[in-house]
Point group: C2
Chain length 140, copies 2
């Protein structure tokens, strides 16, 4: 994702207004590696700006997603999560505590075999599930 300042400029360019709500969301996402859901982000935002609505958070995230500034990741755990990291990366998920981390896999592109003649792959998503060091320690 671009920096909050660059996003402000891009929003202006596109004719979107730069509101305090949007700027707050830019700042909350900047360098955020927690893969928040819209709801989570809303809760944090509401602490700093009581009165901001969940609706606005959803809307701003959709705009950022449409502009390619955030990735929208679905780990099948209910809510969609947002990731300001738009590199070609993948995810590890702790099935105990639900924490998500970005990881890089360098064997890509992967080869596969199956009954899929002529399929043109545009993207590959890899999700590693397991137990993070913290949870392993607690359960040991």
């Amino acid at each position: 994702m671009k920096t909050p300042e660059e996003l402000v400029a891009r929003f202006r360019e596109q004719g979107y207004k730069v509101t305090p709500q949007r700027q707050l969301i830019f700042r909350l996402l900047d360098g955020n590696t927690a893969h928040p859901t819209a709801e989570t982000l809303y809760e944090v935002a509401a602490k700093q700006m009581p009165g901001i609505s969940l609706r606005t958070v959803y809307q701003t995230l959709s705009e950022l997603s449409a502009m390619g500034e955030v990735q929208h990741i679905d780990l099948g755990s209910g809510a969609v999560r947002f990731d300001p990291n738009v590199d070609d990366h993948h995810h590890v998920v702790c099935s105990t505590c639900g924490v998500v981390h970005d990881v890089y896999v360098n064997q890509t592109p992967l080869q596969f075999e199956g009954d899929v003649e002529g399929f043109a792959v545009h993207s590959t998503r890899i999700v590693f599930s397991g137990e993070c060091a913290h949870c392993a320690h607690l359960s040991a």
Copy 2:
């Protein structure tokens, strides 16, 4: 997934009753490579057994899933899909028509890098998205 006959035996073993509804679902899943949703399966089942309820389909699928006889796959496309193939396999999804195929990736286990010291991977899910030969042909 086991054959319908074996499933009947397993259900009996576990003290579950073998009802016509359950047997129908076993048969519909047997060799099914279409990755149906519960709803889809229900529609097909209802043609052969009018009166079967969606509730029963959901319940039987949950039982099969709990017994490890079907995989329950979430491609982030709304409904959860069920796959009677419980091998260690992955999926390709056409983003145009939504069709899902099973594929095998032999480079696994994959290595990854990132800020995830001591993470114990239990499973890896890979989803290839793109365009299937059929859709590519239509759009050409």
